[in-house]
Point group: C2
Chain length 390, copies 2
Amino acid sequence: MSEKVLIETLNMGIKNNHIDAVCFKIPTSAKTAMITTKNRYAAAPVILSRKNILESQPRYILVNSGNANACTGKIGSSNSLKCTNLISQKFNCKSSEVLLFSTGIIGRQLPMDKIEKKLNSHKFSFKSSWKSASKAIMTTDKFNKCISRSFLINRKKITINAICKGAGMIEPNMATMLAFISIDVNLNKRLLNKLIKEVNDTSFNAISVDGEMSTNDSVILISTGENKKTDFNISSNYKKLSYELSFLCQDLAKMIIKDGEGSTKVITINVHASKNNAQARSVAYSLANSNLIKTAMFGADPNWGRIIAKLGSLNHIDYKPEKVDLHINKMLIFTGGIQSNKCNLKSLNKSMKKNEIVVDISLNSGSSSHSILTSDLSHEYVHINSAYTT
Amino acid sequence: MSEKVLIETLNMGIKNNHIDAVCFKIPTSAKTAMITTKNRYAAAPVILSRKNILESQPRYILVNSGNANACTGKIGSSNSLKCTNLISQKFNCKSSEVLLFSTGIIGRQLPMDKIEKKLNSHKFSFKSSWKSASKAIMTTDKFNKCISRSFLINRKKITINAICKGAGMIEPNMATMLAFISIDVNLNKRLLNKLIKEVNDTSFNAISVDGEMSTNDSVILISTGENKKTDFNISSNYKKLSYELSFLCQDLAKMIIKDGEGSTKVITINVHASKNNAQARSVAYSLANSNLIKTAMFGADPNWGRIIAKLGSLNHIDYKPEKVDLHINKMLIFTGGIQSNKCNLKSLNKSMKKNEIVVDISLNSGSSSHSILTSDLSHEYVHINSAYTT
């Protein structure tokens, strides 16, 4: 039996004549870790997967796009169970050995007749690529998101294959996103769970398109059990792996922001010298989710007053207003409570026309910092989201 | 001397050839109360007015539009003081008897040469109307906001004259708004301060266009000292006055939402049966400020899943997900954790095409409720805000 994660993409009849599902076959030697949404209306498949991963080592993962199976009540739960049963019958495994994820419209029931017929009749060869899997899980995404990358640890080549989806309803914990990642190493469950949390905090949980948290967000990390000779209990090995995986996931997260609904720019918000991390994070998200800031970024409008006014509105943050420094694209804009002498609004406007904008705001009230990525707010965002279901 | 508030509108040279300022002359018998922004970067005129109202009974109020005089440092403070000095010299009163308010772009210095020249040369006749004052304070407003209304208390006619401005940067505490209200009654300072707070909480502090809090928000309430015979220490008289004034201010607040930048609909969010008022308020604002909900409203998209997903993301709120009921325009949409049997998405879509949408969400976890007004998020909002200063 192969020690690689194998993939089959298929049409289950949710989208007309489009690939709308992917099935992952996980090697028996693998360990799997998972992080799911904190939304109180977590979707039926998420709830079932949380239960299953506690009971069994997952052997199959079925993912569909086009229907979130969220807010679908008992029928939705029963349909989720039916899906895992269909896979378990097909491949002769326990139903609890199947994880299930869905993404798409909230509140609609899955077309179970079609799904049952397709799953029963489909001949699985498990010869699809990670790239085709990344296409199968797209919803409002404009491009697929797939990265495969190799590196060396102790002269041994290690490969990460990873895909994700997401474009709207994106804020951490997590985002309207799914990510599936495989690493061809042998990690015990404890290290795998540590790794997924670490990596997630600095990548998928450090982005925001629109301040929304979806009902279906999940990140799944699989260590295949290959490369058994590299011992990740050795701290330097683990650190190297964590570094490489974080880097890759940050690149995936950046792809989500680039594909943020209507996004024309990737905006990095760096909050520096905050009293503590919670405050740094809170400031970063407040700026990232401000419509006035996001529209100014879209229009390359050097209206820095909106950033300062937003900061000023956050009454739970410790700082002295006159000690705050604001840089945009490395130019000092605001210092000492007033526009900097060095600030040239024409140059700022010109520099804001780039595809990437970096905002650095230093509170000068401590030593904590937090960075997040966000997108701008464009006409296209309104266009996409004013006519999604209809 | 007249016991009415008198008004002069003028051009101070901030906007080219447009009325950009208004001066109110307050009767000596009047009392004045004020509520100002909680923004930490409160504008220079706001800071000066806070100080002045503690020192003296205001006799003049000068308001300009086109420049917020916020984030303007020591020069901004000194310019504010110059403005009040110019008025005090002109009208032979103390500088502390002048209140000053500004609205417009943040971070630019006032053109003091022009202002000084104009204030010195202008012949004040104080014959302008409340309507012309409401026009003088407009910035991105598409229409002026002015209400005059009379009613009887103990068979005595009482008149309220009120104006406000605001269209963007609108969230409570307060909004990017200014309001000036006069009532021709005799109220002591204690009752006047009680009244302004009560009225503000259910009107100007119960709206949100974009979740932003400005640096310049202020509400000023003047009781002229007329109608001395009506005693507002009598509870029924006070209640009647508070009711009428609240009603009028709610109408003014609704005008702000109607004029919300790019607004095409007025949306009422009613949160019912919440554990306590703070939670009801928090849910109401979270729904009101969700871009996904606001764009769905703009497009009349019956995508109720976005409302439920937003509620689900609020982990600090006490409720049981399966006990939540959602009505939109009086139709039961979501109940028992699932779309209601009675929900017809086509009818919902049709009803959402109206100019007013009412969302009722019942948490069934207590007896507190909170209502706020908000606007939708349209192409026009993005258009306006991506090119404001440039």
